[in-house]
Symmetry: C2
Subunit: 366 residues, 2 copies
């Protein structure tokens, strides 16, 4: 697969990005196209990456064509308004990546840049899949079950959602989970404040009625709650982008705080430090388990092409994982699968039918 | 202070509840009134609690009046619709607790029962504070800063909120935080998806404009995001009850999963187990730091009286902490303070003023 990698996006661009791309090119069957300012990219390769092992042989990769550089000197500044900037700066690196996907010169686009700019550029250049109202950012999260990561969407692209969008998120999430993450028949849940059918707010109660209608097609399992996020008992959770963003960031905050507490307590006594030394490999393994980097970035689902958004602070290692995610999405043609699945959906229920389902679900006390 | 404790509410009622009440009576200056079925309560005291130390001397406490039993044999079944049940069963234990607060026979009510029933009973018997549209459940959460716990509200009482309610939550949360949790001038944040003024959904953008208007009075610090939940950089976070409930449960889920991963990795090798043995006191301390029990239940703010709701699975220890929280709320007369603060608020902005503030806050690209 050919991955167009935005070399200029992210807090650590271009250094971590280009080394991550080189690492992916060296370690996988994919070829990586670095899109950005060529002098800056070449300059970044002059300083060997301090932690990536084995260090990729950049000269060889460039010669063999496994690694390519596509030059563009337009870039988006940190204080540019993202949507306006991608429209104004036609040749900024993100736009060039998207155009390569559009014109079949690349199979997926990957960027650690501003996710708003990313989404705007994807919409502007690739366009939406037929039947999708709003693209969504899906995030892969670790769970207590190592073999069953969770796909959560929308993780922040759409703050206020129509209930029908949540059904679209379910269709898109089901396809990505099944094709890229492994489960043959992913189970889909709706984020709510209790698992009972009647629980929720106005948005989720209506979405519940709609999802229930499509339950056999979407393998919809009903409401889930915050307790289910890390349980490993569900494959896909849909919610509006406000709630998804809060879940994602709260989880990161909890993991960070818990790690900090543990460290502070261990550092408080010499004997604890000694024990921690013995536990070091275990603690490293523990840290890796919690590390969102290995899950390889968040797909932007619903656009005509495979697009992976990664954290702004992505390291070279995270970039390499994101390229791998882009490659897998392209390999399984997720965008096409979503389009097919949407076209194959049974007819939508009428407003009256939805209303009736919703009334039947109301908690008994009301 | 006199605490009316619902002996019949919660998964572990009456056993854990009554022992928790006895422990609180023995260890603090408060007197505890156990409200529930007298034979069941007395029967529970026949089996000494396995972990509470020092074991309270129940006979002595009952004789001295530090511990009392108020008999009622009506109770709410698990499958009763809560709001209807508290209206139908006039003498159920929750209602009796509330009436004791109302009639000044108790200074606070504490229950581990169904929080919906609790809120319904409080509204029905105690009524709302003037100027409060909807009571809210506030939850105290641990943060990276041990001296700065977070008060999060609403944690689940109101799923769909009007933006003005979020301002009321801020007023109520500020009062509780200042009087009970310690900070002299609590800082209040609004849960959003980024810290910039322009970030949020329709609800929070409007609430932001309103809170900005009252910023000097409420010490409103602007938007916060999920990353701030455990940072210890803010005292009060307001959000709608759907989002609050998701934050609370997701955090519990993350802590549970992280603990599980750590345990599994440590148990995987003999040498790790050995090191963990040395670390045992540290790990216990760590567990205690994460333990929500010590924060003593969630106040139901906005009703005319001090009401503490605790987790349905509360242990005796959690109940004792909840009684303590009830006592502190009563001591500082939180309900009265909220009423006074609401009455003293400067005049509300007009819809036009709010509209203008909101427009001025929009992100530049829009």
């Amino acid at each position: 697969m050919r991955i167009a990698l935005d070399a200029m996006g992210g807090d650590n661009a271009p250094y971590e990005i280009v080394w991550g791309g080189a690492f992916a090119a060296a370690q996988t069957a994919d070829s990586i196209i670095l899109v950005g300012d060529e002098p800056q990219i070449k300059n970044a390769f002059l300083t060997r990456h301090p932690t990536l092992r084995p260090t990729p042989n950049v000269t060889e990769l460039l010669q063999s064509g496994k690694l390519k550089i596509v030059h563009t000197d337009e870039s988006i500044a940190m204080d540019d308004a993202p949507a306006a900037a991608v429209r104004r700066k036609k040749n900024c690196s993100i736009n060039v990546c998207m155009r390569m996907v559009k014109e079949n010169e690349a199979d997926a686009a990957v960027s650690a840049g501003n996710s708003g700019a990313m989404a705007a550029s994807a919409l502007f250049i690739l366009g939406r899949i037929k039947g999708v109202s709003r693209p969504a950012i899906a995030t892969v999260m670790p769970t207590a079950n190592a073999d069953r990561p969770l796909l959560l969407l929308d993780a922040g692209a759409n703050t206020d959602c129509h209930y029908e969008w949540l059904r679209e998120f379910a269709t898109m999430g089901e396809a990505y989970s099944r094709l890229v993450l492994g489960p043959q028949k992913p189970e889909v849940g709706l984020m709510s404040i209790g698992t009972e059918d009647c629980k929720g707010n106005e948005l989720t109660k209506r979405a519940f009625a709609l999802l229930r209608h499509y339950a056999p097609t979407l393998n919809f399992k009903g409401n889930v709650e915050g307790h289910d996020v890390f349980e490993g008992n569900i494959d896909v959770i849909v919610c509006d982008g406000f709630v998804g963003n809060v879940i994602l960031k709260t989880s990161e905050s909890a993991a960070h705080a818990i790690g900090g507490w543990l460290k502070r307590i261990i550092m408080s006594k010499f004997i604890y430090k000694l024990a921690a030394l013995i536990l070091k490999p275990a603690l490293r393994q523990f840290k890796r388990h919690m590390d969102p980097e290995v899950f390889g970035g968040a797909p932007l689902l619903g656009v005509n092409g495979n697009v992976i958004i990664t954290h702004g602070s992505s390291s070279a290692r995270a970039i390499a994982y994101a390229c791998k995610a882009g490659s897998r999405a392209a390999e399984h043609n997720v965008a096409r699968e979503i389009e097919t699945n949407i076209a194959a959906l049974p007819p939508a229920p009428t407003e009256e039918e939805l209303e009736a389902t919703q009334r039947a679900n109301e908690c008994s006390e009301k």
